[in-house]
């Protein structure tokens, strides 16, 4: 009998710290000469198919204060629900975005297209959050308030409607959404391990 060897442990995470911008968003840290711009500056390229939307929000700590030194990464599908690298995906949707929370207000915002439904899931955008004080990146998802979520495998597993609501963005305009993330306490966002 072939025995499956035990997998090696994953390397341990450490906090991104307060200076994450230097490595991941160098132009936010004031570096303009080293690289040609920041990665993830936009999840879409001009000509992407689908409805353009904007998403804005803040990340709040356990005191209710916005994080001024956090970084958000987003990963999403194209308008048909296909991810970059999958056969038939829209080449104008790299799908990856990166934002710093503003150093004075804590706000982040980005422009993208509304993703389609990926295989058996309601349309969503994955968020990954790192910052000083966060020992291992926090994964969550933004869902859209106008969609039917009853069959979504993630939302349907959340035990209370109150908690599930933390993953649903607020519609604040024709094509504008707000998605606030609460790290701790009242209205604490559901974070995922998957």
């Amino acid at each position: 009998m072939a025995r499956r060897p035990d997998p090696d442990p994953e390397t341990a995470s450490q906090t991104a710290g307060p200076y994450v911008h230097i490595g991941c968003l160098p132009s936010v840290a004031g570096f303009h000469a080293v690289f040609d711009g920041d990665l993830g500056a936009s999840p879409i390229i001009e000509g992407a198919k689908g409805d353009v939307i904007t998403v804005e929000g803040k990340i709040f700590d356990g005191y209710g204060d916005p994080l001024l030194d956090g970084m958000i990464e987003t990963w999403q599908a194209d308008a048909k629900g296909l991810y970059a690298g999958q056969a038939g995906a829209d080449p104008k949707v790299p799908g990856f975005g990166r934002r710093a929370t503003d150093a004075e207000t804590g706000a982040f915002s980005f422009r993208t297209i509304r993703p389609g439904a990926a295989k058996g899931q309601a349309p969503h955008i994955a968020f990954w959050i790192v910052a000083r004080g966060i020992n291992i990146g926090l994964l969550t998802r933004l869902y859209f308030p106008e969609d039917n979520h009853s069959d979504d495998p993630i939302l349907s597993r959340i035990e209370t409607a109150e908690r599930a609501k933390t993953l649903i963005a607020a519609k604040i305009g024709d094509a504008a959404y707000r998605f606030d993330i609460r790290l701790q306490g009242d209205g604490e966002t559901v974070f995922l391990d998957m």
């Binding site: 390397t11 230097i22 993830g40 970059a84």
Partner: protein
């Protein structure tokens, strides 16, 4: 060939969210348990970065801030290693980004007010893609240890921050690399957030004289493991069985 699903993340080797000795974690840690689920296509796919984004000096922190005009100050070191997944497979074409303090322990960042001076020839960021065998290399200077406001006389050991992409968004990892022999490692509450000493030891890069260059630089080796995917029995069967 691989099965699609990611191996569940083994939280026993990872730091908890709340580690009170590291004070900022107290207000930035969720209190509810994570919702654990099998990975979906969202976590099993990920961004792709091409060689077009990488310039020739991007992995050379000694030269990249001045684009080769002047050298950064400090002890010259090569940091290199292999990126693999939990199944021991090389992760090729993967983006690695690093950032660090200068030789005096100062970051080039608006929020760092430590009085050690900036080095006009040092920025502190680098990036590269792993080669076909998962190997990477950075030329840099050894960063200085620095004080931080976690408690009285708190110091960070010398370290380099590493950001790692695999092929899947669910493999995303940020960590820190330390240097063999640094006595501050054992005093650091950020390091101590990791519950397992063996996992701490894996973040400590070892002096690698085989890659040091005479009259030029020392070398340190740091191998990194990302989450793997579920495998079928077929692909694990040893040859001939």
């Amino acid at each position: 060939m691989t099965g699609g699903g990611l191996l569940p993340r083994d939280r026993a080797v990872q730091p908890a969210a709340l580690t009170p000795e590291y004070k900022t974690s107290v207000t930035r840690s969720p209190r509810s348990p994570l919702l654990t689920l099998d990975s979906t296509v969202t976590e099993e796919t990920g961004p792709v970065f091409g060689h077009d984004i990488i310039g020739p000096l991007d992995n050379d922190l000694i030269n990249n801030f001045t684009q080769g005009a002047s050298l950064a100050n400090g002890e010259r070191v090569l940091i290199h290693g292999r990126l693999s997944d939990q199944n021991g497979r090389a992760v090729p074409g993967a983006l690695i980004e690093i950032w660090q303090a200068n030789a005096g322990g100062r970051y080039r960042h608006a929020n760092d007010s430590y009085f050690a001076p900036l080095d006009p020839n040092f920025g502190g960021c680098g990036r590269t893609l792993t080669d076909d065998d998962g190997n990477y290399r950075f030329m840099t200077i050894r960063p200085g240890a620095y004080p931080w406001p976690n408690g009285p006389n708190a110091w960070r050991p010398m370290h380099v921050h590493f950001s790692l992409f695999g092929a899947a968004f669910g493999q995303r990892l940020i960590t820190q690399m330390y240097f063999e022999g640094d006595p501050l490692i054992d005093l650091c509450p950020i390091v101590a957030a990791i519950p397992d000493q063996r996992q701490i030891d894996r973040l400590v890069a070892h002096l690698d004289m085989s890659q040091a260059q005479s009259m030029d630089h020392l070398a340190y080796r740091f191998d990194i493991t990302l989450r793997g995917r579920n495998q079928t029995m077929f692909e694990n069967r040893p040859e001939g069985m």
